[in-house]
């Protein structure tokens, strides 16, 4: 299942942005609604998505709201494992070239061993990693292990991050810079916090990577609003909610409508 690993996520996405494209990155909890349907959904979404964030479930996801918690519980109860998830991603990547970014908490990575995890993720064709409970101060070892395998470690910037720190995080990030739109865990929201535009503005001068906004982007309207300043959006809960409801056509149409909202044709 060896896939080309000499792939630079940041350069790939930067190229798209330079062509005037806004980026749409849906989030899927790995293995849902079933392993086979997950792979099919990945491939289907890849037609309109620029990258796909794949959540490897963790038993204690403190950055996630009720919907993604529920998805994590279901996936773990169905017997999903770290190796199993990487296997499913590798399968999907045989059928599409849309890059996969893994989102997981630090303990499963730590438990596997940082080098081992990086090696397995690279072999599966994964392009980058988001670890929401691993702040900059603790990330040096993993950052190096991933770099050695050509994978990006994506840094998150929050509304409470002071300006000086935001510039440091932006400069350290690879792949893209993840701006957390609001103070809170993942979930749906009706309006975009004005803080998110300010954070994007704070970050932009310090990176040439795409700046993506995530957490609470649940409609095409919000995605369009976020993309007035940002280079793209990450859509998690709104996708996973539909997956949990077994509404897979709804997931596909949501992502198409977001695509349309951020880059009106």
């Amino acid at each position: 299942m060896s896939v080309d690993i000499q792939f630079d996520l940041g350069a790939h996405l930067k190229q798209k942005v330079s062509e005037g494209r806004k980026l749409v990155v849906p989030y899927l909890t790995c293995g849902l609604p079933s392993p086979g349907e997950f792979v099919d959904l990945y491939v289907k979404l890849a037609e309109s998505a620029d990258a796909i964030e794949v959540g490897i479930p963790f038993s204690d996801p403190v950055m996630d709201g009720p919907v993604i918690q529920e998805a994590s519980v279901r996936a773990l109860e169905a017997g999903v494992t770290v190796d199993g998830c990487l296997g499913l991603i590798a399968e999907a990547l045989k059928r599409t070239s849309t890059p996969a970014v893994v989102m997981t908490y630090y303990n499963p990575v730590h438990s596997a061993g940082l080098e081992t995890f990086a090696e397995k993720a690279a072999a599966a064709g994964v392009s980058g990693l988001i670890v929401p409970d691993l702040p900059y101060e603790e990330c040096a070892e993993l950052d190096q292990a991933l770099k050695d395998k050509g994978l990006a470690l994506i840094q998150l910037v929050a509304p409470t991050t002071p300006a000086e720190r935001a510039s440091m995080l932006a400069a350290a990030s690879r792949g893209w810079v993840y701006v957390v739109s609001r103070m809170g865990v993942t979930g749906l929201q009706d309006s975009l916090a004005s803080a998110s535009a300010e954070v994007v503005d704070r970050v932009k001068p310090h990176t040439d990577l795409p700046v993506l906004v995530g957490v609470g982007i649940s409609t095409g309207e919000l995605a369009g609003e976020a993309c007035r300043v940002a280079d793209g959006v990450i859509v998690g809960t709104a996708v996973v909610k539909r997956v949990l409801e077994d509404d897979l056509p709804g997931v596909v149409s949501l992502i198409s409508s977001m695509r349309e909202a951020v880059n009106p044709s």
């Binding site: 204690d60 499963p108 596997a112 702040p135 101060e137 040096a140 991050t161 957390v180 103070m183």
Partner: protein
Amino acid sequence: MTPPRRRPSFWEPKYTDVMSARSAPAGVTSADTRGRWGEYGGVFVPESLMEALRQLEAVRVEAWTDPEFHAELDRLNREVIGRPTPLYLASRLTTKVGGARIWLKREDMAFTGAHKINNTLGQLLLTLRMGKTRVLAETGAGMHGVATAAAAAYFGIPCLVYMGAEDTRRQSHNVARMKMLGAEVRPVTNGSETLKDAINEALREWVSTVETTHYVIGSVVGPHPYPQMVGDLQSIIGREARGQMLELTGKLPDAVVACVGGGSNAIGIFRGFIDDAGVRIYGVEAAGTGAKGAPHSAAIGLGRPGVLHGARSYLLQDNDGQILPAHSVAPGLDYPGVGPEHSMLKDNGRVQYLTATDADAVAAFRTLASSEGILPALESSHAVARGMDLARSLGKDGDVLVCLSGRGDKDVDIVAGMLGL
């Protein structure tokens, strides 16, 4: 594993453990400038919380070096908590066991009934200094929830407590107490519905409200600076106990014993004796039913290092790094992790970690109750159980000091149920 590249320290200014140094010639332990205890500890939290932790550390360092803060804390310790708590010679228990003298550090006689209040009043003072207007806490057995609610009421600040739904049932007495003290109690129905899940929910709530709310963590767990701060605030237990032992016996104890869930009463009393090489120190983890393959809470004894709730420490987890459900008859020990300072003390061999089963704890509860008229918390009963063994093996000239971390009123329903009373 290669050592991490050197990074500029996030924690400014560099702190000194002035609180311990000020009043105790011995027992000074502290994390390094990265918040590490050896290879444990650290700060594994979402970026959204980093600024709040930096602020907390800055305010803590300032307070620790401010005589006014210490004067106020000393006053609260005396007038509100009733410190110093007694050092008590359990004579009839000693006779019954037939070995070394058994001394109890009576944290059960502290205001609200456990050592937890030592920590919460101190953290409330820091809350005011940070200008925050609301506090948040998790609780297992309910003693930390009650201690936070009481401290919040004392300072006139709103208080929200998360408690696992299972724990709200088995410690319903404490749920009522928290509500009477004006706190809001939110039962948590996720996961195993115990302490771990209450901490998860508290962290999620904190991410949303961090700008106005201080999270009063109840043990020496969590991201830096919590293990340092809570340990420092609890170290008064060991400072007092050491002085009291010297005063009453003219010597130090041969052994010090405390129960370990997250491990704050244990760190509190251990800190007083860490530098006394002749004093053997024992932590007692909960072995649950003791049945092979059954869930337990012995993170140090049977876990391996991992990262949960902000720190690297010994942890009960499966091969994939998923956290395993813990169990103990004592809700305050029912936790799959342990404070990072304990992990360091295990690895460097200064502290030996033992276990006691649910049955051992209940038996010790009965023995202490009938021989001394004291109802100990089921958590503390784990320490009493191993303390009696140590007394037996040391012989009559020895002295064993047990930290009686809390009172057992909250546990009368559990024990009555088990004994068919």
